[in-house]
């Protein structure tokens, strides 16, 4: 299945990154392992037509309203990156504590910065530091099962489909590469509604999926060759996930040291109507 027009990859308004998209992007496919989905080992550069589908016209400025429907690249200022490393250095010299000293202040400053830049994190946002071994195909880890989770929707897997009010549901908002090596974001460039429509067209006889997890499994099983986008994220850079439900993960396939990601997620808003299954 060829790449379809979905959400665009853009630099968020008011952020300044010198991005050579062609040099940052690779396309691949997924493979299933024990019911989980990971990138295959082979990657290729996108064709000019595929780049056009992914980027639109990158010279045109992106408005704030349109940005919600794009995967937007962000970057943390150097002083915040330095603050993070300073915090780690202090931690290394002090007796071990259950919680990183200065973490709350650090993430508060990150939130203030993003707010100033017009990319505010939701009010109930939670910041996690995710440390991954080098060479991992997924940074999502199931601690109980002790294995990588692989590609999933940025919204909780149990959420019922079709989506209700997405902003009130538990979800991953975005992430930042706090490490000193590039990591790669892996994603399918289509929102959940496109995936469902694709399935409805191809497997019309099957009943529609009832949860996001079911939608993800069915699509990735049915379309394993649909181009999986691999986007390089340099140190200090981050991404904001568009609305609509996105199949997304990140990997440390080319890193020599551990990957350090600041993941921003939202807990379920009080009174949200979705049910856990």
């Amino acid at each position: 299945m060829d790449l379809q027009p979905g959400f665009r990859l853009v630099v968020a308004p008011r952020f300044h990154l010198a991005v050579d998209w062609a040099e940052r992007l690779l396309l691949g496919a997924v493979q299933q392992e024990d019911g989980r989905f990971f990138p295959r080992h082979s990657w290729r550069t996108p064709s000019p037509e595929e780049l056009r589908l992914l980027l639109g016209d990158p010279t045109l400025p992106i408005e704030d309203d349109a940005c919600d429907k794009c995967l937007a690249l962000l970057t943390l200022p150097q002083h915040l990156q330095a603050a993070f490393w300073g915090m780690l250095e202090n931690e290394a010299q002090a007796p071990p504590t259950p919680r990183l000293q200065g973490w709350d202040g650090f993430v508060h400053e990150v939130a203030r910065f993003l707010d100033f830049k017009g990319s505010p994190v939701p009010e109930d946002a939670v910041f996690d530091l995710v440390v991954s071994k080098p060479g991992q195909r997924s940074i999502q880890w199931d601690a109980e099962a002790a294995h990588a989770i692989g590609l999933t929707f940025n919204l909780a897997s149990w959420i019922s489909w079709p989506l209700q009010d997405e902003t009130r549901l538990p979800r991953l908002w975005g992430g930042f590469n706090l490490g000193d090596e590039p990591v790669h974001v892996l994603l399918v460039n289509l929102p959940a509604s496109h995936l469902a429509a694709e399935l409805a067209r191809d497997v019309a006889e099957a009943p529609p999926p009832t949860t996001l997890d079911e939608l993800a499994r069915r699509f990735l099983t049915h379309c394993p060759d649909y181009p999986l986008v691999r986007l390089r994220l340099d140190p200090g850079e981050g991404y904001r996930i568009p609305v609509g439900g996105v199949l997304i993960d990140a990997c440390t396939l080319d890193t020599e040291g551990p990957g350090l990601m600041l993941m921003v997620r939202c807990e379920e808003a009080k009174g949200a109507g979705s049910e856990e299954t």
């Binding site: 008011r14 300044h16 200022p77 150097q78 002083h79 910065f113 100033f116």
Partner: protein
């Protein structure tokens, strides 16, 4: 002697109108002209200044209004010797150069160090901001050369300040600017706003909601600057807090830029003016040339008595009075810059300008908020 005239505070000398770069917001009309101030004009200019009676207190001699470093170091060595020879009373004089830093070399560092010349470097921040406006005549960015100059200043331990011109794009980037200053060892910074002056007929800062954006920018930048170790000095904050804490300008008050002869501007041909330096070299249908005379032939007394100066002074004075009558910030500001008033409002007898809205009012408001918050916090933290 002109005992009635204000004492000179700032002498702006133009060694050449030429600039080796071509900034998009520049107000200098003749920046492609390679004319230079001759030794005899320089001597006449200094003689005129010291004989005018204006030199009564320490003042600053600023080499500006073109790129001063396109003129060889030898010119400034000679100028310094001449300055000493005319300054018989030994009035303390601070020499200052405002430069784009692209031409700095070892010889310049030697001169700046040996003569203790104050240096101001014009740089607008990271490349995506600086190179957008500060370009060569071929349209290339200049930041690489500026940063090379800044590195040399650090290597040679030559102190310097920085002036950054803020455009609308800069207002989204306080963190990026802060990072730039930190990365380049810049410890003192001043912000100018992109002004409507002379040939620069518009400003990106004219858009709607700009005062709010400027406020947010300054507020965030101030937080970053004050949290740095050591704190980054910001001229706008220092001057605003000083105005808030100490300055209470009353009726009849004037400040440097609208006070006749507090500033004297002399171009490379010896033509002189007063008030805003940007006025020199320009003219208006009503006032004619803003150059009021030439150091080779016109005494200060004759110029002060001339109808042209009297008309100009009356109009500027009226503008200051209008500010006093209508603006609650007058006691901190003293009536604004005549140059801005003329270029924006078409007359000196006018009040608010872009510079007033952003550079004065917002700076005062932000500084006042900061002082209130931190004074309250400090008081709360103090032991009982």
């Amino acid at each position: 002697m002109n005992a009635d005239a204000t004492a000179l505070e700032l002498l702006v000398l133009q060694p050449t109108p030429f600039c080796n770069i071509n900034c998009s917001y520049c107000y200098l009309p003749d920046r492609q002209s390679t004319k230079r101030m001759s030794r005899s004009t320089l001597a006449q200019a200094l003689e005129w200044v010291f004989e005018s009676g204006l030199v009564r207190d320490p003042f600053t001699l600023l080499w500006h209004a073109g790129e001063p470093l396109v003129v060889p170091v030898a010119f400034y060595e000679e100028a310094t010797a001449l300055l000493d020879s005319y300054n018989l009373a030994g009035v303390p004089i601070t020499q200052s150069i405002q430069t784009n830093a692209t031409l700095l070399d070892e010889a310049w560092c030697d001169f700046l160090q040996s003569r203790q010349v104050h240096l101001g470097v014009s740089v607008d921040g990271p490349a995506f901001l600086h190179d957008r406006c500060r370009k060569t005549r071929q349209g290339q960015g200049t930041l690489d050369r500026v940063v090379r100059g800044i590195r040399l200043l650090h290597e040679r331990q030559v102190p310097f300040d920085v002036i950054t011109v803020l455009t609308a794009s800069s207002l989204d980037c306080p963190d990026e600017l802060f990072d730039f200053y930190q990365a380049n060892g810049i410890s003192r910074v001043a912000f100018n706003v992109e002004e409507i002056e002379g040939p620069n007929r518009t400003s990106t800062l004219l858009g709607a909601g700009m005062a709010g954006r400027f406020h947010r920018f300054l507020e965030r930048f101030l937080d970053l600057a004050c949290s740095a170790n050591p704190p980054l000095a910001v001229r706008e904050f220092e001057s605003s807090t000083s105005a808030i804490q100490f300055m209470r300008l009353g009726p009849g008050a004037r400040v440097q830029e609208n006070n006749p002869w507090a500033i004297v501007n002399i171009d490379c041909e010896g033509n002189f003016s007063t008030y805003s330096p940007e006025l020199l070299g320009l003219e208006s249908p009503r006032h004619g040339s803003f150059a009021l005379g030439n150091v080779a032939r016109d005494s200060l007394a004759a110029v002060i008595a001339s109808p042209r100066f009297q008309t100009l002074e009356a109009e500027i004075s009226r503008g200051v009075e209008m500010c006093q009558e209508t603006c609650q910030y007058f006691r901190f500001c003293g009536g604004g810059a005549p140059g801005n008033k003329y270029f924006e409002n078409g007359t000196f007898a006018s009040t608010e300008t872009l510079s007033c809205r952003l550079h004065k009012k917002v700076c005062i408001d932000v500084s006042l908020n900061w002082l209130e918050q931190h004074t309250t916090a400090a008081a709360a933290a103090a032991p009982a």
